[in-house]
Amino acid sequence: MRVRITTTAAVGALLLLTGCGAADMTKQASPFANAQGAKTVTLSVQSWVGAQANVAVAQYLLEHELGYRVDTVQIDEVPAWDALSQGRVDAILEDWGHPDQEQRYVQDKKTIVNGGGLGVTGHIGWYVPTYFAKQHPDVTDWKNLNKYADQLRTPESGGKGQLMDGSPSYVTNDKALVENLNLDYQVVFAGSEAAQITQIKQFAKEQKPFLTYWYAPQWLFKKVPMTEVKLPAYKEGCDADPEKVACAYPHTPLQKYLNADFAKDGGEAAALLKQFKWTTEDQNEVSLMIADQKLTPEEAAKRWVDSHESTWRSWLS
């Protein structure tokens, strides 16, 4: 008898706690948001340093100029769209183009809005270190790559040359490209950008040749100068069928996306994030401070903010 009363009480309490009726979990903020009366903005950080640089500067300005508390969460690109749609993060500051997601969330569900361009143009390609390209200038054309397969061999790639790919979250057609261009190469996935960068640095230290999937803007170019290998030119739609791709990657103007509710009610923070726009050089400067000089993102952002007031003043209108 007593058991039944306890159970009833517990169920009742649970219902009271959660509120009866429907609960839409897609409209649910992070439990860490808005603690202690502070206004909080949650930003998604992707795993590459450029994205960290954007977030670091935005965070610094939000905290020091506008008095927000900023939470950052590292989420991979595609899941970040889902999280953005649910409001668990408020903004993505650098998106490399995800047409499927855009269709679903921006056009259909209208839970995400475009926040304007970042001002940076992204480009993916295949790169060899410049010291190697100088010795063998013809390596920069894909047609000659097979000649160098031998030199680019590693234990991991077996009998073929190694084309190193990075994080699984990045857009890549490399397996199809190797196949369709009849290259004597094996795609080896580093599995994460951290692993890829570490490996590139190790190769560079020994002046060894390597071929890697890489992208610009990227701070690593400053440390390890790399030259792009020309692939068959990109034409609109040549990458439509992922199995049959045989052309280079496009140049993508990077975009910002905001949660729809945040864009509407986010006040100064939303306004700042919409205005946020800088150049490739700016981003690289901050990235380099974070990744190479190992400054904390906050410290790096502070240095950039201190020396580029004219740039960010205009975002605070």
Binding site: L14, L17, T18, G19, G21, A23, D24, M25, T26, K27, Q28, A29, S30, P31, F32, A35, Q36, V45, Q46, S47, Q52, D71, T72, V73, Q74, I75, D76, E77, V78, P79, W81, D82, A83, Q86, R88, T154, P155, E156, G158, S167, P168, S169, V188, F189, A190, G191, S192, E193, A194, A195, Q196, T198, Q199, Q202, K205, E206, I290, A291, K294, T296
Partner: protein, 645 residues
Amino acid sequence: MATVTAAASRAVIPGILKVAAGRKLLVLALAAAILVPLAHTRWASGTWPTALTVDLTTPLTDTSTWIIDNRDSHPLFLYFLGHVSNAVVLAVRVVYLLLLAAGWAGTTAFAALFAWRVAGARLALGAAAAFLTCGALGMWVPTMQTLALMVVAVLASVVVGALLGLAAGLSGRMDRALRPVLDTMQVLPAFAYLLPVVLIFGIGVPAAVLATVVYAAPPMARLTALGLRGADKEVLEAVDSLGATARQRLLTARIPLARKELLLGVNQTIMMALSMAVIASVIGAGGLGDRVYQALASVDVGAALAAGIPIVLLAVVLDRVTAAAGDGTERTGRAGWAYALVAAPAVAVAGRLMGRLDWPDTWVLNIAEPVNRAVDWMTAHLYSGVPVVGGTAEWAGRFTTWVLDPVRDGLQWLPWWAVLLVVAALAWLIGTWRTALTATLAMVAIGVLGVWEPSLDTLSQVLAAVAVTLVLGIATGVAAARSDRVDRALRPVLDIFQTMPQFVYLIPVVALFGVGRAPAVAAAVVYALPAVVRITAQGLRQVDPAALESARSLGATPAQQLWQVQLPLARRSLLLAVNQGVVLVLAVVIIGGLVGGGALGYDVVFGLAQGDLATGLVAGAAIVCLGLMLDRVTQPTDRRTKKGA
């Protein structure tokens, strides 16, 4: 003539049949003789025949799309899962706000006073030092976020686990139904839990908490059931003989008698929840794990360590405090508790009045830089060109070429039915026909899922890593068992490696071994080594001293003692070490995907990163099957019976 041969064969066959192993192999050989030609004529291929695979891509993708599209409208989500999600968010938020409201001084005081009451003054100092270190590393807020998540996840796990354990402890049928499930969950890598939860709840704290609960509740359930079932029969009989009702029997005898196991369960749950809270940063759990994960992205070992140290400290403090509570050395006397209960809020209020709620920025130590310099120095000097021994990169290359490649190619060259036969034979020889059946079915499932090749690739890495782990681990374990000094020196190192989030050592591993399968193996070895060392050392130390003494009195040299007495007598521990080694190595396979391990690990990471649940779930399921198979193949038969006690 004919009679002679007949007589001879009759003599031989029973000879074989007498040995159980021989009989089992004979049965298998017969089955194979019938089935293999059939299978071979029908699907003649070395790798798993495509005719026998089921492509799950379309249904899984459809499911995933359906869930995303209906998450904000379907009643299942609105009226059930939504509430679950809300409750989790609310609970975590309440705890988090409480922790923040207490401020750093209040929280530290509370932790220290609690540790003092439960475990004594030394641990109280340790707890206080640990919390202050978290602050000094600039990790106060992330630590509190992780703590809030942990508190909720642990409470939920303990409640769920205890209820399940209660059911299994009181009902034999429930126990039989639950035990295989819990046994299986025990061997699953933490990553395998992430995908299904993300599919339903999306990225974020609710998914992280629920994944943690699913991961951390089974040990609680197991131990609760074990405690309830292991209670002294005579005590229960005595309770019955005094005319206790079922309820009185449960409350006054069975549960108090299981106290030790219950507290051990809480301890295990906390440890597992902590390790999961870090891994769950991949799905947006935030907190310390996220800091480690972010530091990884900028190849910043120092920053990763700064976030990793608080995790280690939390783990050590929580482990010691709950373990001390389980020892039953609790202090009685209400005065102490009352004092603690008054002092903690007092400190919190004092901190509040002084306006010192947030950790002061000026008190933050920057350890990242020196650590990075040390790591750079290490990699710069060890990577290559070291005289005589060669650099780590060369080792990695040779390991890949001479060990990993042959094993992988060998496995993939074997016809699929041969692999199944080998697995069945091994599992049967070591266990029972049941284990053999489970192991074989697990392998079949891998084939049917259509990931035969990558699974064998992963298997080759696991085998290589296990071999290295066992050689190193048993050698170190022997050293630790023979010398107290080595043991003492090793203990903190093992503690650290066991609790340090695996993300932290990914970068050093890549810096030393390059990208590929070799660093994945290295990461697995680092992760699995402590457990193997511990179990080996413990097993050797527990060898009956009388046996050792008699060997010594017969004039055995230390080497003879080791080989002829200690190792054979510690056989059971060594088998357990193998089993644990296998399970732990497999748990890191997915992490290995982050450093170029490829195969299944990469697929899971890919699935998580791209939201491609078809790839991720299938690879995750294949890892689960591999885990089941490996566990069964390395599981000594009597483990089961011992657990049943």
